[in-house]
């Protein structure tokens, strides 16, 4: 193998899920001793590409070449055997086992009999770890270590199989700045040994600190690829954002009274944050995965872990104790994980849309079936839920229509929510229905009586729907953008720099 031969080559990889194309003719290569950064916002195809390399997905077309071995598709086992090691954000460690046990998981060292050779495992694990100069011993349990050190364990574990390519999926998302820098040093150490590294990230700064080459994906295509040294930052930002989309939906010219005031709200993983929501406006929180956006919404709604600060709405001041109280004061939350946190998947459209309304629709303790029918029919028609049949189980609807059912829960005529908190509302929803949902959110605030707070990691979405955007980095608001300043570029550079 010559020095100039790439360790990993991906050639015109294609992958579709149903009608939507996640990867179209993606090609890239990584040389030995190179750190190759992969960028692109959520849904750009990064996860699908990693999935194809790790064997989670079978590509429809194209090939993957590791050293000299070509394959059209890989199973997870073949991927590992061929020399691809992937470290996901979840790290894949067993928290209750020791560092040594984790490093040798599945390839345990034995004594001559059937027993585990704990001592030898521990010694070899410590040897393997030594290049990273760890501050811990291999005999401690993984759960006692901070995330950054758990990551060291995961990398050491992966290196045990002497891979050709190491893929890291957003490794710094859960790390502090210092920890992130330490990780960079470790990766440079591995690079010097001839390892090829694919580094998936959202942060431009890291790219310029540690990477040699950069590739940007957008809508499943490679839109930029080049040496980091000869690529100015502005070009990378442009590539991530893409050309300007169509004119954004009509925005409010003015807004009304303050409906919610969030003051110095803070919890273990975010804050303190302070902002107001006014009647008639849609406010966007732009933040990447792990930036604390879900935590902030849940804290406002009384679900989460706010430790200090306050949320004031009209008569109420202070942190809500539980969602029921927040709802009583006019708040409503549509969580990001529709299936896990929002819907009752096997239950009917009607039961899902009216989940928070059965009490309000009852008389003398009994349900009003006619009232329920009419309320459901009105809101289903108004939001355009398809199929609108009240008895159909909600899990058989498309993602976009499921989201409409979630909205119906808070917008039907029995509800008086004035503040809608929407966490990643268009996750897994196709472009056409997205536009419909944006228009719907504009309609919600049009009467100047309600406000909408929406989080998103898609700058295009924020620009399309919000009057004003708060940029969230590591749990803090670093920037507020509105009017002509609110552009995809300004969002990305505020969040990534």
């Amino acid at each position: 193998m010559t020095a100039s031969q790439p360790r990993l080559t991906v050639r015109s990889l294609r992958k579709s899920f149903g009608a939507s194309r996640a990867l179209s003719d993606v090609s890239l290569d990584i040389m030995p001793g190179e750190i190759h950064a992969l960028l692109g916002h959520n849904g750009a195809g990064k996860s699908t590409l990693i999935g194809c390399l790790g064997g989670a997905y079978a590509p429809d077309h194209g090939e993957i070449v590791v050293d000299d071995k070509r394959s059209a598709r890989l199973t997870p086992v073949e991927a590992i055997k061929s020399g691809i090691a992937i470290i996901y954000q979840s790290l894949g460690l067993v928290p209750s086992l020791s560092v040594a046990d984790n490093i040798f998981l599945g390839r345990e060292l034995r004594t001559k009999g059937p027993f585990l050779s704990k001592r030898r495992q521990r010694k070899l694990a410590n040897d393997a770890l030594s290049r990273f100069q760890p501050s811990f011993d291999a005999s401690v349990k993984v759960e006692t270590l901070p995330v950054a050190e758990q990551q060291v364990v995961a990398i050491t574990k992966a290196m045990q199989r002497t891979p050709s390519v190491l893929i890291l999926d957003e490794p710094t998302a859960a790390l502090s700045e210092t920890e992130a820098r330490a990780l960079g040093t470790r990766l440079r150490e591995l690079r010097s040994q001839g390892l090829a590294i694919l580094y998936v990230t959202h942060l431009l700064k890291e790219v310029y600190e540690i990477a040699d080459r950069v590739t940007v994906l957008r809508d499943g295509k490679v839109v930029l690829s080049g040496q980091v040294a000869s690529t100015p930052k502005e070009r990378v930002v442009e590539a991530i954002a893409g050309r300007k989309g169509e004119a954004p939906a009509a925005k409010a010219a003015s807004h009304g009274a303050r409906l919610v005031g969030v003051h110095e709200l803070a919890g273990p993983r975010f804050g303190p944050v302070t902002f107001d929501l006014h009647a008639g406006e849609v406010v966007g929180i732009y933040g990447l995965l792990g930036s604390g956006r879900t935590e902030i919404l849940e804290a406002i709604f009384g679900r989460g872990s706010a430790t200090t600060g306050s949320v004031s709405t009209g008569k109420h001041l202070g942190v809500f104790k539980d969602p029921a109280r927040a709802i009583r004061h006019g708040l409503a939350l549509v969580p990001a994980e529709r299936m896990k946190q929002g819907l009752l998947p096997p239950m009917s459209n009607r039961d899902n849309a009216l989940l928070a309304s059965f009490d309000r629709l009852s008389t003398f303790g009994f349900r009003s079936l006619a009232g329920e029918r009419d309320t459901y029919r009105d809101i289903a028609t108004s939001l355009g839920i398809k199929p609108g049949d009240p008895a159909i189980p909600v899990r058989s609807l498309s993602g976009g229509n499921q989201q409409k059912v979630m909205l119906a829960r808070w917008l039907n005529r029995t509800q008086h929510a004035h503040t809608l908190l929407l966490d990643e509302p268009t996750q897994g929803i196709d472009v056409g229905v997205r536009r419909e949902l944006y228009a719907l959110l504009r309609r919600v605030v049009a009467e100047q009586t309600r406000t909408v707070l929406v989080t998103s990691s898609d700058p295009e979405e924020i620009c399309a729907v919000a009057d004003r955007a708060l940029v969230l980095v590591r749990g803090r608001i670093v920037r507020e953008l509105s009017g002509p300043d609110l552009t995809e570029e300004s969002l990305i550079s505020a969040a990534h720099l």
């Binding site: 709604f301 679900r303 539980d322 969602p323 029921a324 709802i327 009583r328 939350l333 969580p335 299936m339 896990k340 946190q341 929002g342 819907l343 009752l344 998947p345 096997p346 239950m347 009917s348 009607r350 039961d351 009216l354 989940l355 928070a356 059965f358 009490d359 629709l361 009852s362 303790g365 009994f366 349900r367 079936l369 006619a370 329920e372 029918r373 049949d389 009240p390 008895a391 159909i392 189980p393 899990r395 058989s396 829960r409």
Partner: protein, 381 residues
């Protein structure tokens, strides 16, 4: 119930041949497949009718009603609890304690039946409250907590008295052996409780909330539903229902043996509820199904006794029925796509779309939907 019709799920048949098929042999077999339990109950009754001339006599039917009555009373409460995603296994012992407490108050303290029964119900409700508090507010495992209570309450009953209590007098005994308009009192009480349970589940907001908590407690919580208080209340009701069952048993036997009253009863109740199509993981099932499950067990026990099948074989039959119920429950869960979950892993709520039918809606009063899932399972494979 006016929206039962809209709840009747679209079957796999296409619209055009639906009407025709309903009249054909195919239609009959489909009906059978979707109503396994009803068909089983009818089949069982015909079989026992052939084998034993006494089976269809009025005395025997009353006897079936009497055995089923106590089972039904406790099964209604247990079914609600299981639907909300919890379970109470201590009911056998609570039943025993309820009977003993009421009996002792009557015999030793000459308490009026109203007082005796009232105190017994309070004791049962109290045990239910402890169970409920541990399982809902403290989040302990319902299986383990109530299994512990099963043992502890039996021990406590024997501490109160180790000898059978008997000789309650006619006023008290009339609860077990009396009749109202020719119908045995326990059957009247059971019918009333069943009707209340079915109305609650089908026609009140609380009934919807029970399903919601059973299917996805997180979603229910974020919608402002009291996901702890409601199951807690159901635990209390379950305890009270078990105690009431004990009172009725004791009154019928005119005796409350502390060591044996209600032993193994929790398994019968669980069998009836699961046979009735209630998913052990919660969130799926209805009251008509539970009633059919209760009657099925009642007929089975009665018939086997008539045929002089020994007690040991009856035990074997009951155990097999529970395992079969567990099997049906898994099959119907798979068919409806509700994977994982239940009280073992409350955050995992199934999200796989499938062809299976909706068993919710207002199906509580709709016999057709009670066993729909079972049929779905057999035909879906």
């Amino acid at each position: 119930m006016n929206d039962a019709a809209e709840t009747t799920p679209p079957r796999r048949m296409q619209g055009a041949d639906r009407r025709g098929a309903a009249l054909s042999i195919h239609g009959v077999s489909r009906f059978a497949a979707q109503n396994v339990l009803l068909v089983g109950l009818i089949g069982l009754s015909i079989f026992f009718g052939f084998k034993s001339p006494q089976f269809w006599t009025l005395t025997n039917i009353r006897s079936i009603g009497l055995t089923s009555a106590v089972l039904a009373i406790v099964a209604v409460a247990e079914a609600l609890l299981i639907l909300s995603g919890y379970v109470d296994l201590s009911i056998g012992s609570v039943l025993g304690l309820g009977g003993v407490v009421a009996g002792l108050l009557t015999v030793n303290h000459h308490a009026a039946p109203v007082i005796a029964v009232g105190v017994a119900l309070l004791v049962g409700a109290g045990i239910g409250a402890v169970n409920g508090w541990l399982c809902t507010y403290l989040g302990l495992s319902p299986l383990l907590v109530t299994l512990g209570a099963l043992t502890a309450v039996r021990g406590a009953t024997l501490l109160v008295t180790s000898l059978p209590v008997f000789g309650f007098g006619t006023a008290f005994d009339s609860l077990g052996v009396g009749t109202i308009a020719g119908i045995p009192v326990p059957v009247v009480i059971a019918a009333a409780i069943f009707a209340i349970g079915a109305l609650y589940l089908g026609l009140t907001p609380g009934g919807r909330h029970v399903y919601a908590i059973g299917v996805n407690p997180e979603a229910a919580y974020l919608s402002g539903i009291q996901i702890k208080r409601l199951p807690f209340t159901l635990f209390v009701l379950c305890g009270a229902a078990a105690a009431l069952g004990g009172v009725l048993f004791a009154a019928r036997l005119d005796s409350a043996p502390p060591g044996t009253l209600g032993v193994g009863f929790e398994l019968s109740v669980l069998t009836a509820v699961l046979l009735g199509g209630v998913a052990f993981e919660g969130g799926r099932g209805n009251m008509i199904g539970v009633l059919l499950g209760v009657l099925f067990l009642g007929v089975l026990q009665n018939g086997l006794t008539l045929l002089n099948v020994t007690d040991f074989w009856q035990q074997v039959a009951n155990g097999v029925a529970l395992v079969v119920a567990a099997g049906l429950s898994v099959l119907s869960t798979r068919a409806s796509g509700a994977l994982g979950g239940g009280r073992k892993n409350r955050t995992e709520v199934g999200s796989t779309p499938s062809l299976a039918d909706n068993t919710f809606g207002s199906g509580a009063m709709d016999p057709a939907s009670s066993v729909t899932t079972v049929g779905g399972a057999t035909t879906n494979g």
